[in-house]
């Protein structure tokens, strides 16, 4: 009895659906007649057309408020972050000395990264600037006048420049180079007219022990003021970011070493508790030797 009832209602449901999809009596497709569908489609075409136009207009008006060369606000970028190259997953620099493949990808990345720093390219595109002072280029009445950049030659990176280096930045010998760079921030006068440098250390005492010696290029990890300020990608086309290379000479092998590098500059705080990369960078170094 009950089953019969259900079956019937099941058939009814199918029937109702059929009638909903196409009702031959009223010529309704999905509950609407052809004209009704036409109206609906036309309406939504017009309505959504209008909404798109309205949104585009407001977006256009909004974009008029932002300039091409400097962002309107830079409050979030008060402290530039530090970053390392090679860029690795989770910032773990792991080198299996015997396993070429493990570090070859780093080497490839570095080759590519350092290519614009080649002396020839730098000489061709950029100026030789006076070290120790900011390279300011005011507009002088000409709006958005294109800016020149200062040379940072690859040779300045010494043993880490990788030029004619059979050890592949030291990766093949377990003495890897890690490059430290500071995030670009437009119109940021890093160092507040005083010299600044990058220093690295083991995060904890045991890390310091395991880290061993390292050398920095340019010497002392200095970053020169002439690379600042940065004027933005559009007008400061050939801007070359200054780098500091750190070559770790005798890291205790087969141990994970936590390294932290920070910048010492008068106007860059490095103790932000929330932002672990403000003015500093922490990475793991592990040299596996058999």
């Amino acid at each position: 009895m009950v089953i019969q009832k259900e079956k019937k209602s099941c058939g009814q449901v199918v029937e109702e659906w059929k009638e909903f999809v196409w009702n031959p009596r009223t010529h309704q497709f999905m509950g609407r007649t052809g004209t009704s569908w036409a109206f609906i489609l036309l309406f939504y075409l017009v309505f959504y057309g209008f909404l798109t136009a309205m949104f585009s207009l407001t977006m256009w008006v909004m974009l008029q408020t932002v300039s091409d060369h400097t962002p309107k606000y830079q409050d979030r970028l008060a402290t530039p972050g530090l970053m390392i190259r090679p860029k690795t997953e989770n910032l773990d620099v792991i080198v299996n000395v015997s396993d070429t493949e493990s570090w070859d990808q780093h080497v490839q990345k570095l080759n590519k990264f350092l290519e614009p720093y080649n002396d020839s390219i730098q000489a061709q595109k950029n100026d030789v600037c006076r070290p120790g002072r900011y390279y300011e280029q005011p507009d002088n009445g000409v709006l958005n006048y294109p800016k020149r950049a200062c040379q940072f030659n690859r040779t300045q990176l010494g043993n880490c420049s990788g030029i004619g280096d059979p050890t592949h930045y030291g990766y093949s010998t377990g003495q890897p180079c890690v490059f430290i760079k500071m995030n670009r921030v437009i119109n940021f006068y890093a160092g507040a007219n005083q010299s600044m440098n990058v220093t690295c250390a083991g995060k904890r005492d045991e890390d310091a022990e395991n880290l061993g010696n390292f050398v920095m290029f340019p010497a002392n990890g200095n970053i020169d003021l002439m690379y600042f300020p940065y004027y933005g990608k559009k007008f400061h086309v050939n801007y070359t970011q200054p780098l500091v290379a750190v070559k770790f000479l005798n890291v205790t092998p087969n141990v994970e070493v936590n390294v932290e590098c920070r910048i010492n500059a008068a106007n860059i705080a490095t103790d932000d508790e929330r932002d672990k990369f403000a003015g500093r960078v922490a990475f793991k170094l592990r040299i596996n030797k058999t």
Binding site: S36, F39, I40, F43, Y44, F47, L51, M54, F55, T58, M59, M62, L63, T65, V66, H69, T70, P71, K72, Y73, Q74, D75, R76, L77, P80, G81, L82, M83, K87, T88, E89, N90, L91, K181, N183, R184, V185, I186, Y230, G232, K233, K234, H236, Y239, D272, R274, D275, K276, F277, A278, V281
Partner: protein, 964 residues
Amino acid sequence: MGLSSTRAAELLARDGPNALSPPKQTPEIIKFLKQMVGGFSILLWIGAFLCWIAYGIQYSNNMSSSLDSVYLGAVLVLVVILTGIFAYYQEAKSTNIMSSFSKMIPQQALVIRDSEKKILPAEQLVVGDIVEIKGGDQIPADIRVLSCQGCRVDNSSLTGESEPQSRSSEFTHENPLETKNICFYSTTCLEGTATGMVINTGDRTVIGHIASLASGVGNEKTPIAIEIEHFVHIVAGVAISIGVLFFIIAVSMKYHVLDSIIFLIGIIVANVPEGLLATVTVTLSLTAKRMAKKNCLVKNLEAVETLGSTSIICSDKTGTLTQNRMTVAHLWFDHQIFMADTSENQSNQVFDQSSGTWASLSKVITLCNRAEFKPGQESVPIMKKVVVGDASETALLKFSEVILGDVMQIRKRNRKVAEIPFNSTNKFQLSIHETEDPGDRRFLLVMKGAPERILERCSTIMVHGQEQPLDESAAQAFHTAYMELGGLGERVLGFCHLYLPADKFPETYVFDTDAMNFPTSNLCFVGLLSMIDPPRSTVPDAVTKCRGAGIKVIMVTGDHPITAKAIAKSVGIISANSETVEDIANRLNIAVEQVNKWDAKAAVVTGMELKDMSPDQLDEILATYSEIVFARTSPQQKLIIVEGCQRQDAVVAVTGDGVNDSPALKKADIGIAMGIAGSDAAKNAADMVLLDDNFASIVTGVEEGRLIFDNLKKTIAYTLTKNIAELCPFLIYIIVGLPLPIGTITILFIDLGTDIIPSIALAYEKAESDIMNRKPRHKKKDRLVNMPLAVYSYLHIGLMQALGAFLVYFTVYAQEGFLPSSLINLRVEWEKDDVNDLEDSYGQEWTRYQRQYLEWTGYTAFFVGIMVQQIADLIIRKTRRNSIFQQGLFRNKVIWVGIASQIIIALILCYGLGSVTALSFTTLRPQYWFVAVPHAILIWVYDEMRKLFIRLYPGSWWDKNMYY
């Protein structure tokens, strides 16, 4: 002699106390759990579990994964539990009002036990106890009368018979309900005394049986519960289908399953209006409070709306439509009918009182009356004084008190020397008095009773103060008047008097009422007087209003058809120009069968006719006639009538007061019990209690119910709108890969923070037009959430809102350095923790935390964008058809409270808690608060346009698709 205490204790232990077991209550914990899993809670539970599953997967991959999803899951569960507790609390609060109401006063009974008279609580009675009852007592159990003196009981709460029933010790009928020697539990003894033996106690009494019958009638879902279920289904359907769709899209776009699960959670949370059900509960209870002020006490919150969708009201007559007291309506003397004032205070008696006949008549009325005011009521208005005596004597007493002044004094001056009280065999009442005129030594004999019996005893008639022989023409005039008054459904009494000649009846004469040593014929007829239980003065208006509102009012009464019809006519249940089949037959002088029944609009159906009817015939009557009166119906038939109405797809409201009404009250879509006259069983079975027993209060209730339905629509439309604005970010995030525009927690802050008070504020909105001028909503066609409402909220306003909010979001990002074009497909890089030098449109590089902070600023901006546009949304939702300016922007002050609350909450979140990063709110620049304003204005303008076209072209394509 009675039972011994020990035996009684044994029986008490066997049968249990003599009390009705209260209706089964759902255990509190079940009620509570129901709130936890009802409605959207299930979806949120799913969301919470998905969160934890996501965390589980994350944890198994990476031990140091963040606890964000655990927190989110916990927050979702918290939301479910809090809203559940809230709904439970609201529900409990409204039930509490009732339970305090239904508390019974402990009843006492006079019992003979151990050969001693004892007063015991009625609960301790057992079968076999001998109890004594006197006038005014409530019968403590079902009792077989052993002996009695003039005992009369009011069985109205049981059988619906309003006439007092006399009791005797004789067995007169097989049916216990008919026999005269049984008194029933919970009925009252009006007068006399009786001694009886308890034959049934507690639930085994006749009343107990009926009460248990009532709990057997299933509880049907209220219309609003169905509507809300429907709405939950729609929203849940949308949420689940979009969720699953985008889960599939996400997976096929090569997103990690884990991420896809998190998207799914976001979509569910965005789609579910978490605060809405709580809002609905608050809205309903606000209305319930408002109705309680207007004398409708609502037991079940959802019943508030049910009343609004009512299409048939089956109303009692006595007490609901009428004042529930006999009142003198007409007088006939000097061959003329006079009308008396029947209004509630009777202060305006305008008939001619100069005639000598009136002087005599008033004397008869005053003297031939045993009713007396209870002492100590000097300051109480006459109409409110308590009287000892039956209904018609009370009416006469009050009538004469109003016109003549202190009746007791008059009676004292005309000392009563003999009296024969009314009895059913001779059908008259007689008394003999000394007159107050000291010069007149004659005795005055006054008599009243059934008019034809009185007339038989008269030989003369008084006209203009002069006695004239009662000739053929005078008798004819009497009969005409009698018929006319009887035809009005009134109870007619005749009055006559005789001055006994002083020579035959000297002052020392001893009257013997048994021997009747005085004349009782050849009296002088003075006049007629008719009484009726008059309609309440507010009822005719209320009935007219019902009619305008498309509500059919059916009178169901135990009274005589003629009386019922007369009252129905006077209150408008049968309108002035409509006729019954019988009326037409009378007018055309043809047989009833020959009348075309389609000509008649009204029908009076008696219980006898109803008994022989098949359900089909009843359906036909209910469908054919628009004005129906059921007379002489038994309470059981009320249930049949209610079922008949429900077969017509009507939402039926039923009023009732007696215990025997409880099955019908329970069966009805909304049972309305009388607060004053109602029995506890009726109040228990009902959904609503009418505190003043007044029909007009039902109509105000209907108005409130309709208003709340409209306002709930507005609330839901308001709440649904922003769901799209909350959902779009997730969809865009998945497909276009923008950094997430709004976080799940932020969404909860909208749903449960800024939006709550405004959506409640809509409950205070006044009606747009006269809601009592339209048909009741069809329970299957006029849904709370219909297609146009969903489409308009989701695809029109919701979309505009989403665009406006995105504008704010893009503005924040662009002004910080990320132009809109750079955001596309940025998501993956953006969210990588080890990318700390992500380049923006200007070549600057961002650390993860800097980006995170910007993302939170984006959340805040999107939140503010939605909030600003929700203000516009709130304003447009004030009306569905009228322009806001017609409705008055400032008429509903609560809306402005809502808007203020919205802004203040947003300000607190943004500036007060801006530093608490756990909530992902940041301090927003003040100008961003205004970015969405153009879109807010657009929303308002667009909606005004929609309403304008709806008003201009009613019934058009636009109207059909745009009016929700």
